[in-house]
């Protein structure tokens, strides 16, 4: 919300939630038990939603908690518990050292790219004046500035999304049902 000089509490909370989300993500990929991993991922998603609030995206933050932390992760936990994945033979699932080496190499390359990108200057040609989006939200509320373009400029994409969800529902039901005819 604030532009230019950030107050200390803003910067503090931004770094706090960012670091907690990264630490939770690290714990998530290293946990052996799928349930513990899923719960750490939920924690990451909550921290990301706090970051969204700090970045002027209150509606997206609410949707993040409802859809990601609420719906999607509950489906994941439901499947983990339905398949009963807690027994010891399923727990030791990390790959061998060759894969770990390859993964570390990919991680190092990606992180190097990150640092190269943060050092580069973002093009300012299309940038809005500072504080523009925040003022928009302050004047029109948290939802109207998103709903406007969603139902005008992106109407086709919105309608296609509904078809996608229909296809996903049908696909999930067809894939998930038990075969009775062909054993």
């Amino acid at each position: 919300m604030p532009q230019g000089n950030y107050p200390l509490f803003y910067t503090f909370h931004f770094y706090l939630f960012g670091i907690v989300s990264v630490v939770s993500a690290l714990l998530f990929v290293t946990r052996k038990s799928p349930v513990a991993a899923a719960l750490w991922l939920v924690n990451t998603m909550f921290c990301l939603s706090a970051l969204y609030v700090l970045l002027d995206a209150q509606f997206i933050a609410a949707i993040q908690v409802l859809v990601y932390a609420g719906a999607i992760m509950v489906v994941f936990l439901f499947v983990i518990m339905l398949l009963n994945l807690g027994h010891p033979s399923e727990l030791a699932d990390a790959r061998g050292s060759g894969w770990k080496l390859a993964a570390s190499a990919v991680g190092v390359v990606l992180l190097a790219e990150v640092f190269a990108l943060t050092r580069a200057r973002a093009p300012q040609t299309f940038a809005l004046p500072p504080g523009y989006v925040g003022r928009d939200f302050a004047q029109q509320g948290a939802i109207a500035p998103i709903a406007g373009p969603l139902f005008t400029d992106y109407l086709l994409a919105f309608e296609l999304t509904s078809i996608l969800l229909l296809v996903a529902i049908v696909g999930a039901v067809v894939l998930g049902r038990r075969r009775v005819d062909a054993g």
């Binding site: 990390a94 998103i146 894939l175």
Partner: protein, 97 residues
Amino acid sequence: MLAESLFFSAVLFTIGVVGVLTRRNAIIIFMCVELMLNAVNLTFVAFAQVHGVAGQVFVFFVMTVAAAEAAVGLAIIIAIFRHRQTVNLQQINLLKG
């Protein structure tokens, strides 16, 4: 806060990639993909502050696709589990002759 957001987003994405490469549990790999989608969403929201609110609309679409993907993907995992009694990807080699 743009640079910091991009930094956190990239670190989260990297953790997701490393998770996909190092784990063998299909569900955990799937959750790593969700983590990568979340990291990209953070980038979208951070850029929405600079380049207009369209970035937040895109996050909306990404979340819808993620929800659809989770539903279908978990249904596939359940179907595979019924055949193989495992979600360990090293024991699922249907295409190997």
